[in-house]
Symmetry: C2
Subunit: 540 residues, 2 copies
């Protein structure tokens, strides 16, 4: 790709200039949405989902220029390179093949000339067999009882995706199996979980690519001690998801099952690998996990094959970059009008902010301004009664509304004010998008709404596993396309290293004090020293 | 207060100019924190908490000017006016007396010459008695069984605060009583909850000031029908928290208990009123709820009595306004290093964004730029493995770190790398604040950290009810002080009205179609019409 500065690309220069046009009063959204066939021109119905950007602050010219940028950045070609196994994670010299984990095609996917599909299929087969043996009771705990609790030990990419999906699909879950996530090294996370489970019937799933993540190792050590303290054998109650040959995949430390993850799967893109596969297949059943994969595959195929103007995640990425780099919005909200999607925003927050919160191009040059944006969100209508005051009358931020046409619970048809709860939910979702766009004049300044606040609306037919797969893949592809536009690498995360290094230094100081209570923290800076003294004093 | 524009206030002019100084390289945080006695000068240990702003981008001059602004805005006087019952919610002509709900003083608090303390005390006494009768089994369900489940029906301010506190203190809860929150009108929220409860032993607590909130009324109607369908009497299974004389306080619709809220308590400030009191006293026991109130009261007394330079919430508010209005940060993160505080950020998000996301002064004049900021957050260390990549190497945002000196679970002392989990947690919290401030030079641009990223650290001695009360009151007072600085009214929320009005119009259209399937949505705009047709078609 070019070493040209982002804002010096011809399409970007034109976009910068066109942003001035869009900021003019006649291009207020209340006018744009009145244009003939606005919705038809600014929406896509593809790959089983509907994506409406008619209430984004774009006109035909803006879209034309954005697609010119897409062409300049060779987005379709880049995405294809990713899917076929090229090493597009250049800083770590790795491929990025999360799409392979949900491929059911017979085509090979080669990295360095080696087809990775056989190992990927084998992991899926292993998971299928393992989950079935858990459900049938062929695999049981130390005392011969069937498993009723799973506790997933993992953090970040080994946690948020599986949590999002298990929460989204919990209505379909096996009611005899409860799932808990032990992510935080905070002892409260461990303490609460062990107060909820029955150790004899608990299976712990330890997820760590390297098997060295500090939090996961500390929690695993605690869990081992806890189970051994109850007279239960770790080899019967622990499962690992880790790299081949890691300390978690060591025959000298036998476990009830070990499932591999590969270097071409990044943590935040790993939900469809064994990272999500093992817990979700036990919690939901393998068939539902496979449906979820197949939904993701359908969106992947769309993302790789559809031309730019018909490509939903590509178009969404262009609009996201337009909002961030040209219109100057500093944050984006993800507001699903579906309470089962309550953990979508935290997952997308990680996926997008860890991928694209970067200051350098993938070639290592500093960007004019950092890429990425802040992502946050809560489900609607809850969010309306929380931060929507600021959305309407404070500093504006773009919103992704997500709607579901058919709810899972159809048996509750009681009406209030003539409508069912699901219809009330939709009334609100539709009203918000329009109120934000159009605003309202009022002689009373307190009741004046400036409007011109952009949003997209994304529809799913229902909350089936397949559609959750589509939704996941949409956001993954959107994130990756954004990175391609900004010319950054969405697959590394060097920004998390400094904190880890510093924590290690502080940990050593604490360990020294644990060994010798006379140890003074005189090698640390005075601020840190104050905190360490306070921690050991146990009071302010 | 003055009608002067914010940036024309002398202190603000000086602050704007001083922001230029702070943006110079020599005022980088890596230099500021090396100044002698930095921590002593830029921290406060008061009211049972510790607030450290040594890693905020302030020097002595900045603080001097901020306190000049505090004086100009008469912050102490304004706060005192609020606490003594003046009608500082000017747009709604109401007092704002959340502080009265946790006052255990004998002093009267008068609104329009009437002492409100007797009615406030009576509500607390009623709650105490009711909770005790639920626990003893004196009050039981239709079939004579003791209550084991409570479901709180309420949204926004009638939900997020009680959820935050119940989550923070759940380790202390009565293990025989489970709590669920039915906030969202989404039928999935209702469907999931009724799949988890035993109707015979369920008490529903309906919370709505006006008893007209659309979501709450729709859910209450469903819950009534559900209970009646099981042959259970609503009069034995429903409790209301509402205004005197509202439809929820009607003798013709008898309930198991009715508790009053008053017009001087705003929803997002209502956790310490009956809104939080009824569910929390049943879930935790009244004594713990009272300890929580007493912690909040201690912070209130500090907020009202401490001079500006020793006043923790006032200082925190000045720094928040400094970051937002003078340094240009667009968002603030709340990162508790304590997993029980996982719902703190959503509560503060509502409290702060709904209070301060405003475009006009309390006199009705437009601000130069909207007040308020985006608040978001997840617990650490989880957040480190999620969006901290962007925090370190993307666009900067200020962070509130919250630490807890003593964990609730002391029995798990297993060490990993020489430290306990709680010590590992602290190593990370301390490392992050310093890494963000100092940064790191590196010849490899990918490993370069610009630093100069501000944060505060707030310490609690433990997660006792009293300390959760302090934390809540701190954020309430900080929010209110921010509003006083910006000269806005933090107690109204006209920005939520337009969406409600529009939703009502769409609801009527849907109701008409429910009545008559031939009804065409030809009165709505074409975009909304497409969505309504899609909803009724049930597919894309």
């Amino acid at each position: 790709m070019s070493c040209q500065k982002f804002f010096e690309i011809p399409a970007c220069k034109k976009l910068l200039s066109h942003a001035g046009v869009i900021n003019s009063p006649e291009k207020h959204l209340k006018n744009l949405i009145k244009e003939e066939n606005r919705l038809e021109k600014f929406s896509l119905n593809r790959a089983g989902v509907f994506y409406d950007f008619s209430r984004q602050r774009v006109d035909e010219k803006a879209m034309e220029l954005l697609f010119e940028l897409a062409e300049d950045r060779k987005l379709n070609e880049m995405f294809n390179d990713m899917v076929i196994g090229k090493k597009i994670n250049v800083t770590e010299n790795r491929a990025a093949l999360h799409t392979a984990t949900r491929s059911f095609s017979d085509d090979p996917v080669c990295v360095d000339g080696r087809d990775v599909m056989p190992e990927t299929r084998k992991v899926r087969d292993d998971i299928k067999q393992f989950a079935s043996q858990i459900h049938s009771g062929k695999i049981r705990g130390t005392t011969g009882k069937k498993f009723k609790y799973i506790v997933v030990i993992g953090i970040g990419g080994s946690y948020l995706g599986a949590e999002f999906v298990s929460c989204a699909l919990s209505d379909l879950a096996d009611k005899d199996i409860k799932i808990n996530f032990l992510a935080n090294v905070d002892i409260h996370n461990f303490g609460r979980i062990v107060s909820l489970i029955d150790p004899e019937t608990t299976l712990w799933i330890v997820i760590s690519k390297t098997y060295t993540t500090a939090e996961t190792m500390a929690n695993t050590k605690l869990a081992y001690a806890f189970m051994e303290g109850k007279g239960l054998l770790p080899s019967k109650h622990f499962v690992t998801v880790t790299s081949k040959g890691s300390p978690g995949d060591d025959p000298l430390n036998p476990v009830a099952g070990s499932f591999h993850m590969f270097d071409y799967i990044g943590g935040r893109y790993s939900v469809t690998s064994a990272v999500g596969g093992v817990p979700l297949s036990i919690y939901l059943g393998y068939e539902r996990f496979e449906s979820f994969l197949k939904g993701a595959e359908k969106m992947d195929i769309h993302a790789v094959k559809a031309v730019a103007r018909e490509n939903i995640p590509l178009t969404a990425a262009l609009i996201s970059v337009w909002n961030t780099s040209f219109l100057g919005y500093q944050a984006q909200a993800v507001i699903p009008y579906a309470s089962p999607l309550s953990r979508l925003a935290p997952h997308i927050q990680q996926l997008n902010m860890e991928s694209n919160g970067k200051s350098i191009t993938k070639e290592g040059d500093f960007l004019d301004e950092p890429a990425g944006t802040i992502i946050f969100g809560e489900p609607g209508t809850n969010a309306q009664h929380s931060f929507f005051q600021l959305a309407h009358q404070g500093k504006a931020f773009p919103i992704d509304f997500i709607g579901v046409i058919n709810p899972f619970y159809k048996e509750y048809q009681e009406k209030s004010k003539g409508v069912t709860n699901h219809q009330e939910l939709w009334s609100n979702m539709l009203a918000q998008a329009m109120a934000l766009a159009v605003g309202k004049d009022d002689d009373n300044n307190a009741k004046y709404f400036s409007g011109n606040r952009p949003s997209s609306t994304f529809l799913l037919e229902d909350l089936s596993p397949e559609n959750i797969g589509r939704l996941l893949s949409f956001y993954e592809a959107k994130t990756v396309f954004e990175a391609f536009i900004w010319d950054i690498n969405p697959f590394d995360q060097f920004g998390v290293e400094l904190g880890k290094t510093n924590a290690s230094g502080i940990r050593s100081n604490i360990a020294a004090k644990n060994e010798n209570s006379d140890y003074a923290f005189d090698k640390t800076d005075p601020i840190t020293r104050f905190y360490l003294d306070t921690l050991f004093a146990g009071r302010l």
